[in-house]
Point group: C2
Chain length 463, copies 2
């Protein structure tokens, strides 16, 4: 037998093949027509857990759940050893060629040192980093130094309700000394980073209705409030001239950062700005006045329009005055904002600003999630920092991330410590067309996971 | 041989069958995949022109034209008799079950005294009223009392550019003493009306671009101006609190109505309001302050949003911060507004109000058309009034219509008099789902057309 890192190096080509096999399964959780694909991905993962030598692997279907959880366990380190829970998600965002992909979104293709495929960075990279690190440890002398639970979910892209319910209902199946949430990205390909805070999210759909049917815009244009126009007028009132959300009460519960934290983020901000220029590159920056880019991403809440629809948008022109208009809206939340309260505040505000000429309705799309703050200096965070330094050769910086990992809140309740270890890169276009990973990301992820689990096995004593 | 009206009564069942056969051809002019259907409709119409005894019938394909014109001629009345040009369009708006149709949009179905099918009222009712009136006259003793040109187009729903070019290039093939534009609707099923003015139209597409690609709304939300939000903010600035279009110069060329005309329209307004309640029924009226519903429809210009699109609008939720957003915009125009100038004014205004955080572009979708005023008391208008009274048993009222008939402007140049004779009803849902006609509309249309042509054959002397 050889040590875990040597094993991982030796088996890297097979690990890559398995990663690509998983990528080919279009496990899109938000589209009902992909339900069988999500199921297929779950079975594939349970099969791999068994193959690598875990004691058990179950595909769990919960009442009310849309897609299964996959739970694998290995208890070979003994009762005295700590237990680590590894979490990642195997579902992916929708993807279609017409969104602007240069190649089939569900066929991995390597170009210029990157592997392009939906789910490559978000989050099958993390699923495979976990499983292959566990495989390498179980194959090495003495096995893994910690007991391991791997909990994978298939509804992360649609709200993580099922896993949150599972954790609440059966905490003993999830409980661990340390939980690792593998998701997200590092600051730059050669600058690892540790996320110590995540924004929460509340998602909504706003409907505006006017006439009782679609009308001819010649016969009726000018005599009623066009729902598309009314929707635009409502949306235009949701921010003020300072870039602040103008919903009364929206900032009531927001925890302001202290000077020390703003100094820490000022250091990270150069990376955020560089990334912004490389990836977003809009004509000008825009956002809440008084905050830099890193603060706008991690420290401040937002209200974004994620979709607008209504009337005729195909080729040519249709002189329709439509019956209704729709907007998808999300709020990114920071401590201590509550997604239910934010929805209620928006609901009241939109009802108040809806003119009497139309009807509006703001529907909640899921339960949402609160923001999470983990702290910089826990045992698990120190072990994670060492693991990144081993895999990258560079010490990580600390940052607040703008995205959400809905399950984090539930896991905090049943695990003593929580750490987030993401191995993607920010140019990976998560959720967009041409999603990709750098080809070395998987190996770095596996190396970091092995090192982290070994450190926790020494009760956090750094090597 | 029998007289024309008796012939029409006798052949009514066959006329209805032919009307339904034409309705089954989905001649959607704005969708490229229906080009062959539009061609098929043109061939069907030319075949019918030949079958009813016209001297010639041609399917005309013009350079640059997308769909053919159909031109039929009959010169049997002799050189001393007047020539009447009959115009209608055989193309239709797009239609799909998912828009809310209760039955296949291209299969005519009778329910409750109405015939449901895309194109039933707009405008195959008019095409068939013309052709079957001509058939009845040619089959009656002495034939028709006027020389007849029937000119049918297949691009009315996409701007009528080809026919306008044809009229400008070959005026001698179109020239007539009187032109009848058969299109539009009467005020109520039992209250015929004569339209003496039409609004023009200018159609545009507004694009707003922000980042260089779709982004994850968590990773970038709050750091740039969301194009969907920016589009909404621009749209919200296009009207003021009085319901007026707030584009500088927009009303510069608008001809205000005098007191006599506003009194005439006040009489028609009760019908416009009744129709509004029956068909639109929005929560409240809305429009330019200081004008009633008939005036808002016929006398005042508008700016309408006909479509909004961008981001993710499917089921569930996608946390995308999209690269771009789009709106379809149209302006309904009144005398003496010019569609080119209106486009230029909007272009300048939108450029001026577009913030530096996004890029915008306002594209013209077609050449548009100016408004048309015909006058109330011409020879042709009196003949038309008598024809409606014969077909309905009720004298018509006069109104300004809100829709556009782009070809009107071109025909005014080559025909001495112009009259618009529409036989549809306003509850016919033109352009919307479940488009329909009252089953008696075709017979009334044929009767009115026969009577009108007979009156013109007597040089306008009323019977």
């Amino acid at each position: 037998m050889i040590d875990a890192r040597s094993y991982a190096r030796e088996h890297a080509p097979r690990f890559r093949q398995q990663y690509e096999a998983l990528l080919r399964i279009p496990s899109v959780s938000t589209l009902p027509q992909h339900a069988a694909d999500v199921e297929r991905a779950a079975q594939w993962l349970a099969g791999d857990m068994r193959a690598i030598g875990m004691d058990s692997a179950e595909v769990l279907r919960l009442a009310g759940g849309r897609h299964p959880l996959v739970l694998g366990e290995w208890k070979g380190a003994g009762e005295a050893a700590p237990t680590v829970l590894l979490y990642a998600h195997y579902d992916v965002q929708p993807a279609a060629m017409e969104d602007g992909w240069d190649s089939d979104p569900f066929e991995p293709v390597e170009r210029d040192g990157r592997l392009f495929c939906r789910g490559s960075v978000d989050s099958k990279l993390h699923v495979m980093s976990q499983l292959k690190a566990v495989e390498a440890l179980l194959a090495s002398p003495g096995g893994a130094p910690v007991n391991i639970r791997v909990l994978l979910e298939g509804e992360e892209e649609s709200g993580s309700e099922t896993i949150s319910a599972f954790v609440a209902q059966q905490p003993e199946r999830v409980r661990a000394d340390v939980a690792v949430i593998s998701d997200g990205v590092v600051l730059a390909p050669d600058q690892p980073s540790l996320v110590y805070a995540l924004r929460g999210i509340a998602t909504m759909e706003l409907h505006v209705d006017g006439p009782v049917q679609d009308l001819h815009s010649g016969h009726f244009g000018g005599t009623l409030h066009n729902p598309l126009q009314a929707l635009a007028e409502i949306i235009a009132q949701l921010h003020d001239a300072e870039g602040r959300v103008s919903v009364p009460g929206f900032y009531d519960d927001v925890v302001e950062a202290d000077a020390a934290e703003r100094a820490l983020l000022a250091h990270t901000n150069q990376w955020s700005e560089r990334e912004w220029e490389a990836v977003a590159d809009a004509p000008a920056r825009h956002g809440e006045r008084g905050y830099n880019t890193q603060e706008r991403i991690g420290l401040r809440p937002t209200l974004e329009i994620n979709g607008l629809g209504g009337g005729y948008t195909g080729p040519g022109f249709k002189t329709v005055l439509p019956q209704r208009a729709m907007a998808k809206i999300s709020c990114r939340l920071v401590p201590d904002q509550d997604p239910q309260r934010i929805h209620a505040l928006l609901q009241s505000h939109i009802a108040a600003i809806t003119p009497p000429t139309v009807r509006s309705e703001l529907r909640q799309l899921d339960m949402g999630s609160r923001a999470v703050t983990l702290g910089h200096d826990t045992r698990a965070m120190r072990a994670a920092a060492a693991a990144y330094e081993r895999a990258w050769g560079v010490a990580p910086l600390y940052e607040r991330a703008g995205g959400s990992i809905p399950v984090t809140f539930a896991l905090q309740e049943v695990c003593e410590e929580l750490v987030i270890m993401g191995f993607g890169t920010r140019d990976g276009r998560a959720h967009g067309p041409n999603e990709n990973v750098h080809v070395e990301s998987l190996e770095r992820g596996i190396t970091a996971m092995i090192h982290f689990l070994q450190t926790i096995g020494r009760n956090g004593e750094l090597a």
